[in-house]
């Protein structure tokens, strides 16, 4: 069984992002970039399914600029078998990415597509659901456990107040939540091996997809800063302040 995983190159989660002075967006030049953390969980899950002999091949896909090749190499070092970059300098919004991934799925015929639930840059939380919709496949978002057997995926999902379990007919789309797994550290030998794994480059035009954005960002601003308050010596003073100053008790 083939699994397709998509990965996004984003500003590293440790970077304190800054809004550009001209208000057109967020500063991304000379900023450390990494694989979106939820996508790392997606790659790890696919590799575990392969190690459990459920999957036979893992294809990892990224959509974006040429530098996404680095992100793909990281996924190959975790254990994906081959990579596809849908290369474009255009701004890609989730619907466009879902359309590109649909076109790749049509070529690759995976049985499961695993995506991160959300990218930590645009925080949209859409692409997996959109891909499932466009393919007419079932979806299980926010997965904390995935079992694959007999042409079905049994997925436990994080919902309000607890967990729910769904059974999906394959092919299906799964999006990862935090507790699905803990991604492994990539080792140097695996990084070296990853350099030799195949990486194919495609263009959106060749896939017949119009990626024109539907949302126009008019401006980006920094949110109002919260002022640091005061340190109080002990619980008694704290309760007094909450009662008589903040008046919230």
């Amino acid at each position: 069984m083939k699994i397709l995983v998509s990965v996004k190159r984003v500003v590293d989660y440790n970077v304190k992002v800054r809004v550009k002075a001209d208000g057109t967006g967020v500063e991304t030049t000379n900023v450390k970039m990494s694989m979106n953390p939820f996508d790392e969980i997606a790659v790890e899950e696919a590799v575990r399914l392969k190690e459990a002999s459920v999957a036979t091949e893992i294809v990892v896909v990224s959509c974006g600029v040429q530098a996404c090749q680095e992100t793909l190499r990281t996924a190959l070092a975790i254990g994906a078998d081959r990579a596809i970059l849908v290369e474009t300098d255009a701004e890609l919004q989730p619907l466009a990415v879902a359309k590109l991934l649909k076109a790749v799925c049509a070529k690759e015929n995976p049985q499961i597509a695993i995506l991160g639930k959300q990218a930590i840059d645009d925080d949209a939380n859409q692409t997996g659901q959109m891909l499932a919709a466009l393919l007419g496949w079932p979806q299980a978002t926010f997965a904390s456990k995935v079992l694959v057997a007999d042409g079905k995926a049994q997925v436990t999902r994080e919902i309000d107040g607890g967990l729910e379990t769904l059974s999906l007919k394959l092919p299906a789309v799964v999006t990862t939540d935090l507790r699905l797994n803990e991604p492994r550290y990539v080792t140097l030998p695996n990084i070296m091996k990853a350099k030799k794994k195949p990486l194919e480059v495609l263009k959106p035009d060749a896939l017949g997809v119009d990626v024109a954005p539907r949302l126009k960002t008019l401006k980006a601003v920094e949110p109002a800063k919260r002022k640091a308050g005061v340190k109080v010596p002990d619980a008694a003073v704290l309760v007094d302040k909450l009662r008589n100053e903040a008046k919230v008790l």
Partner: protein
């Protein structure tokens, strides 16, 4: 202009997040219709009809809609959406699951997690864990939107008297089926709507130590939350997580215990009215957003705080 709001409900009543989403629709303007989809959920449809500002309730009732399967609910939304200028849902796990599926079927780029309405086609939404606020304008014919519940003050749950109209439910897609649900029963208020939230972080050291926070939460009738680090470490369930990728909360009082204050945690609670931080590290970033901070050992400070609160 007419807005369709997907209700969140328990079959008998509508959840507060629905009232926040209706409030977002009010900011957009035009009539507001509420869609109540489920099985044997007539009482919830009647409750939705009482919500202030609602002009009509659409009630779809079918076994296929019993468990909020996204394939079926999205198909229902798509069957109705073309009559509307805006389709909204609260940005809850359910709304986030279903609405993008409907948006893609409508060939619409959804606008996620809006916190303000600028005009009928322009909205403000946080990006990068709330470190930037983007104003975005949609060129799609139908705007498909999830609204962050803390961004819009809930409308009144009563005062309306909208007609309830039955709409045809979709056929079951047959693609997915519901297996089971484990929902933790709690006497505490719900995290996203509680007046007070007591959250613990990695500083608690273990899941067992979260018990230390219970008397405090009991005394304040608070919901309990946690940082991503505490969830990551397996101390508490994922649905306690407050932050960029967890729950967004804005209570009157947020008490952060043993939480350092990573960017992604602050993204989930910095709109709280009063923030209290208890941490042994005086350099912890949480103090930069806290109104009141105590530098100290949480294992001593928390019990002291409970004692102080008991004094009248």
């Amino acid at each position: 202009m007419t807005n369709l709001v997907l209700a969140e409900h328990d079959g008998k009543s509508v959840r507060k997040s629905t009232l926040n989403a209706v409030a977002a629709a009010q900011k957009i303007g035009g009539d507001i219709h509420v869609l109540v989809a489920g099985h044997n959920c007539g009482a919830a449809a009647q409750a939705a009809a009482q919500v202030a500002g609602v002009a009509k309730v659409l009630h779809a009732d079918s076994a296929a809609l019993a468990d909020n399967l996204s394939e079926n609910v999205a198909a229902l939304i798509v069957s109705l959406a073309r009559r509307y200028s805006h389709v909204l849902a609260p940005a809850t796990p359910n709304g986030k699951n279903v609405l993008p599926r409907a948006a893609a079927l409508l060939d619409v780029q959804q606008i996620s997690d809006i916190i303000a309405v600028v005009s009928a086609d322009t909205f403000v939404r946080p990006i990068y864990a709330g470190n930037a606020l983007a104003t975005v304008q949609s060129s799609d014919a139908i705007k498909v939107i999830t609204a962050r519940t803390t961004g819009f003050d809930a409308v009144a749950a009563s005062g309306g008297s909208a007609p309830v109209e039955s709409v045809a439910p979709p056929a079951d897609s047959g693609l997915s089926s519901f297996v089971g649900r484990e929902v933790a029963k709690s006497e505490r208020p719900e995290l996203t709507s509680a007046r007070v939230v007591v959250s613990g972080g990695r500083g608690l050291g273990s899941g067992d130590n979260f018990k230390l926070l219970e008397p405090l939460a009991d005394k304040l009738n608070a919901a309990m939350g946690a940082s991503r680090a505490a969830v990551d470490a397996g101390f508490v369930p994922n649905d306690w997580q407050v932050g960029q990728t967890g729950k967004i909360v804005a209570p009157e009082i947020y008490i952060a215990v043993g939480i350092s204050g990573a960017i992604q945690h602050l993204a989930g609670m910095k709109d709280s009215r009063v923030i209290v931080a208890i941490n042994k590290d005086e350099e912890a970033p949480i103090f930069s957003v806290a109104d009141y901070g105590i530098v100290g050992d949480l294992f001593q400070v928390v019990p002291q705080l409970v004692e102080e609160l008991k004094k009248a």
